[in-house]
């Protein structure tokens, strides 16, 4: 109906334009409201991408199939949006009813016409000069709920922006950034809450996961990922080390509507590469936490790497997989193992290496790989695989229920880990170590690996020339999309790994792709260099 309203027709028909404009505005209002029900049923509207991973299960899978194995060879760039910023561009956009919302470096946020790439509004949070981002002035994206989008910032603010204008609706300070805290992740909106986990594992923070009221910005709960005195798990820390124990939660978790639980992964204990002074397992570092979404209460945890000394954050996006009557959650972990857990209990079902690992020779009674005694860093240094950046990192994996495969970007790199005893100083980097490339190691390389969750077996791999920081998208078109460090955006056959199409974007990829549709046309988008690209059929 109102699709017919163009400027021309409005000029010709001034009498009815007011009425129709009101209708348009109302339609716009309705479309802008993203309810919790819509987020729960995201698969009913495949033209939209409503959460960081595309759905609450974390699958990063699109049911769009217009672009498929037979026509992907003709995929072409439809538009490019440039951020005019430098540094790593890590965003995953959201798309709601034709509007694309994303973030960029230095805590920029923007809304674009998803059909043309033309900006509707731009926002940049003014950052102090002394923020503490460990790893670049990055942000991975927004959450959307109601008529607001939500941003976590490098100076540890949580900000709600009006989705239509970019105006600030509320702005709260979660914690003092000067102590080393920051936000880099895309928040997750659940019910009427905005959930975020904090970054800062390089600064001796005490990690936490927060929930904020989406309407007011009031904090509803906080779960400290390092237990305080009297709390279960506190005795896994030596002396006062818990106070600066790290365990950040800097990547986006998933939500299980069935059990009303969040499954949120956590990162390394601090200092990241030196275990002396924090004897014990160091709960809940490098763990997957099952939290009650209403209260933040811990239901269960599973710790992947106990007493970590290699910065093997477990912050990779986990994926919920249902297989028959089994309700599972799987994670390809930075320590090189692919874990499958029962998500009702947190019990480990399997753990299998998907990359080169030298840090373990055995498993404990639960089946969890146990660190050997040759891998703990020393002053002289020890070569360990995977290296400090891990077998994978924050780039998103994908699960395609049609192929039944879990896809992960893997890195083959070994490093020399050496200790560098370092006193804690508030807000200063606190690694306790340095790492180096090994002279003897072969050059780093990377691979996209397809893992069968049932067996843990790597079914095939697509080798990258060098390790990439690109995540993975799969679609119902039988396709897998990923990017590489040399700037290529690549489509593979999701069944076989055969490359079907590529496009040189002119900048390295530090982002995960997503898909959306407008006017019945499918698009695939990814950030590369300082630009956001959208591809579609001619």
């Amino acid at each position: 109906m109102s699709a017919a309203i163009t400027n021309t027709t409005m000029n010709k028909l001034p009498g009815i334009c007011t009425l129709l404009l009101v209708c348009c505005v109302l339609v716009g209002e309705m479309q802008a409201q993203v309810t919790f029900e819509r987020l729960l049923n995201a698969s009913n509207e495949p033209q939209n991408w409503l959460t960081y991973s595309g759905d609450y299960a974390g699958r990063r899978f699109s049911t769009l199939d217009q672009v498929n194995k037979t026509n992907v060879h003709s995929l072409t760039a439809k538009w490019v949006y440039q951020t005019a910023a430098t540094g790593k561009f890590e965003t995953t956009p959201l798309v709601v009813d034709g509007i694309l919302y994303a973030t960029a470096q230095d805590d920029r946020a923007f809304a674009l016409d998803a059909r043309t790439g033309r900006p509707i509004w731009l926002f940049q949070h003014p950052l102090p000069s002394d923020i503490r981002p460990c790893c670049g002035r990055v942000n991975r994206g927004l959450a959307i709920l109601g008529d607001k989008v939500f941003l976590g910032t490098l100076d540890a603010h949580v900000i709600a922006l009006d989705a239509k204008t970019g105006n600030v609706m509320w702005d709260v300070v979660a914690v003092d950034y000067k102590e080393g805290y920051s936000f880099t992740l895309s928040p997750l909106a659940v019910k009427n809450e905005v959930i975020l986990g904090v970054s800062g594992g390089e600064y001796g923070i005490r990690g936490f996961i927060d929930a904020y009221d989406a309407d007011t910005g009031q904090r509803k709960w906080r779960f400290y990922t390092v237990p305080g005195p009297g709390e279960p798990g506190h005795d896994t820390w030596e002396g006062d080390s818990w106070k600066i124990g790290g365990a950040p939660a800097w990547n986006t978790g998933v939500y299980d509507p069935g059990s009303k639980q969040l499954f949120w992964p956590t990162g390394n204990p601090s200092p990241s590469n030196r275990g002396e002074g924090r004897a014990g397992d160091n709960l809940y570092s490098n763990s997957l936490l099952a939290l009650d979404a209403d209260t933040g209460k811990l239901n269960w945890y599973f710790q992947f790497t106990k007493h970590d000394e290699h910065d093997w954050d477990a912050t990779q996006v986990p994926i919920m997989i249902d297989s028959g009557d089994k309700h599972l959650i799987a994670q390809a972990n930075r320590n090189g193992f692919f874990y499958v857990l029962d998500r009702a209990t947190g019990k480990l079902i399997s753990a299998n290496a998907y990359s080169r690992t030298t840090w373990t020779d055995s498993k404990d009674a639960e089946g969890r790989p146990v660190a050997n005694d040759r891998s703990s860093p020393t002053p002289e240094g020890r070569t360990v695989c995977p290296g400090a950046l891990g077998a994978t990192n924050w780039m998103s994996p994908s699960f395609d229920s049609r192929t039944g495969l879990f896809y992960v970007t893997a890195r083959e790199q070994c490093d020399i880990f050496s200790t560098a005893p370092q006193p804690y100083d508030v807000g200063h980097a606190y690694y306790g170590s340095a790492y180096f490339p090994s002279d003897k190691a072969e050059p780093y390389w990377g691979a996209l690996r397809a893992i069968d969750p049932a067996s843990g077996e790597v079914k095939w791999e697509f080798r990258h020339l060098s390790p990439t920081w690109s995540g993975v998208l799969t679609t119902a078109g039988g396709l897998l999309f990923t990017g590489d460090a040399e700037g290529n955006f690549i489509a593979l056959d999701a069944s076989s790994g055969k490359p079907l199409w590529h496009f040189q974007m002119g900048g390295a990829v530090y982002a995960s792709p997503m898909a959306f549709a407008i006017d019945g046309k499918e698009y695939v988008a990814i950030a590369a260099g300082s630009s956001l690209y959208a591809f579609g059929l001619p």
């Binding site: 309203i5 404009l21 034709g98 970019g166 200063h428 340095a434 040399e486 700037g487 590529h502 019945g520």
Partner: protein, 297 residues
């Protein structure tokens, strides 16, 4: 499907202009603030922490985290970064120079600006000054002793040792291997000796992806073209789908990999092994003395 887009778009056209104006104004303010901050720091000609005995120790930790990956644990350099214990530094040795180089990076080199490269952490101004205090504490005060006869080294470089058939210094020489004009400061003497005696032990090192555009590794490559010609040379650049190479006659070839009959990469360097019977220790020292003289003259 089109409806909501048009209506939202139409409605917000005026708003969009207003709104973009606000953030851009804000950006302008930020840029000005950043400029003023930088200016204030750039005018700081001496390390404000120079007299603080704890600064050098704190700087050592910061150095390990942020700098050692390329410059080595003791700041003595490695295959990637220069030896920073030398008094002479190609890009300046004053406190202000060092602050500028750490803070802003060095254009045209792989030295990144503070906090931009994902290697190490973003440092505060004070932490940068701590690193400078540390570098002063390990700096060798005496100038480097000449290790050989630079004039003889130059003769060898362009003559009997045949280095210049593949390497260029100050615009003169071959193109197949790395330009060695600045290698005297960019690499340690030990690293240079290793590269001449055992060239395949470590090719010109690649860096992490963030600086990959500089990471030509001089890998050896042999291809067979669609019409059956075999070509051998070094890789100039490569990605998943394409290859740029220079053959031993310095011709550049650009290939799409799927069109090649075959392609074989090797980390056996095309550079011959210069063992002591071919090039004596003294002659090697003379050549290194020449390379050092190029950058310290």
């Amino acid at each position: 499907m089109l409806t909501p887009i048009k209506s939202v778009q139409g409605k917000s056209l005026i708003g969009a202009r207003t709104l973009t104006a606000i953030p851009f104004a804000m950006l302008g303010g930020l840029a000005l603030a950043a400029f003023l901050t930088c200016s204030a720091r750039a005018e700081e000609t001496h390390n404000p922490l120079a007299a603080d005995p704890k600064a050098a120790k704190a700087g050592e930790f910061e150095f390990r985290i942020n700098c050692a990956f390329c410059h080595g644990l003791g700041a003595r350099g490695g295959g990637r970064g220069p030896d920073l214990t030398r008094a002479h530094k190609r890009h300046g040795d004053s406190d202000a120079d060092l602050f500028q180089n750490i803070s802003q990076g060095i254009p045209g080199t792989v030295m990144p600006a503070n906090g931009t490269n994902g290697q190490g952490v973003g440092m505060t101004d004070d932490e940068i000054w701590q690193i400078i205090a540390y570098l002063r504490s390990v700096q060798v005060q005496a100038p480097i002793k000449p290790i050989g006869n630079a004039a003889h080294g130059q003769e060898l470089f362009y003559g009997d040792a045949n280095c210049s058939s593949c390497h260029m210094v100050e615009g003169k020489g071959g193109r197949l291997g790395p330009d060695l004009t600045t290698v005297g400061t960019a690499r340690t003497v030990e690293s240079l000796v290793e590269s001449v005696r055992t060239p395949s032990k470590r090719l010109a090192w690649g860096l992490t992806e963030s600086t990959k555009e500089f990471a030509q590794e001089y890998e050896t490559v042999t291809v067979v073209t669609p019409d059956g010609h075999e070509i051998k040379g070094v890789i100039l650049n490569e990605d998943q789908f394409s290859l740029q190479m220079m053959d031993t006659a310095e011709h550049i070839h650009l290939f799409e990999k799927d069109k090649l009959r075959s392609m074989h990469k090797s980390r056996d360097s095309l550079m011959p092994v210069y063992n002591p019977t071919i090039l004596s220790d003294q002659d090697l020292n003379d050549i290194i003395a020449y390379l050092l003289s190029v950058v310290t003259k």
